[in-house]
Symmetry: C2
Subunit: 139 residues, 2 copies
């Protein structure tokens, strides 16, 4: 995505367009490896050397609040982040920490349909996602 696209997303959410925000959202759209705050800092330091730690955490939290970034929680202590907000799932290896997107429209439909019929009392569903734990083979 070009920088204009990033800026558009921020404006649509009523967020001020700052270089730090553009850099972080850009990084998340480039990276695709569900990075932690640390990994994002490392990535954007190349083009933006002086960004403050706290700013990264702060901006990520803002993005999550506005629904343009999702948290990806794993068995590790550090939080991972995801720039893809459309419905999808994750393959996750606790041994290596590797996380891969698992996109599957057929599965999405199956789950959405299932929960449309099934009525869970006392709970309003906002988002469902599958964590598929196991081992990556051949890498």
């Amino acid at each position: 995505m070009q920088i204009q696209g990033i800026q558009k997303i921020l404006r649509e959410k009523g967020l001020k367009v700052t270089p730090q925000r553009v850099a972080i959202l850009g990084a998340l759209h480039e990276m695709h490896n569900h990075p932690t705050a640390e990994m994002i800092i490392e990535h954007i330091r190349e083009t933006y050397p002086n960004i403050a730690m706290g700013t990264v955490y702060n901006i990520l939290e803002t993005f999550v609040r506005h629904g343009i970034v999702n948290k990806v929680n794993t068995d590790e202590d550090a939080m991972h982040y995801d720039g893809v907000t459309s419905m999808h799932h994750h393959l996750y290896s606790p041994e290596t920490g590797q996380i891969e997107d698992y996109m599957d429209e057929q599965l999405n439909k199956m789950l959405t349909d299932y929960f449309q019929e099934k009525n869970i009392t006392n709970f309003e569903i906002e988002k469902i996602s599958l964590q598929i734990k196991g081992k990556f083979i051949n890498n």
Copy 2:
């Protein structure tokens, strides 16, 4: 579960039966609220006042490694733990932090069947679980 049941689980895994381990696994089987290490300590302090922090973390990690306890990861920083290891899912409210078990045999079958057919290349599935995010109503 009685204490003998707890001891049996530990022995079957080749783990030494210590009072600390019995207390922690017992607590997890009693609590059903997916407690953090802190919450477990608080709970067992009543009957076991002098347990060390580090011991709790250490024991929980051992239990997870032996598959008798699972980690439940949320958007929060502190890890949650679950004494129920059979296939089930979680309703989770990021706003309040509340986590409830969602048991559904029909869903389990649907998912298991689906992934039995569907062959994900390069990945060997060990466990699948759904995180259902949203809001608890009326409480």
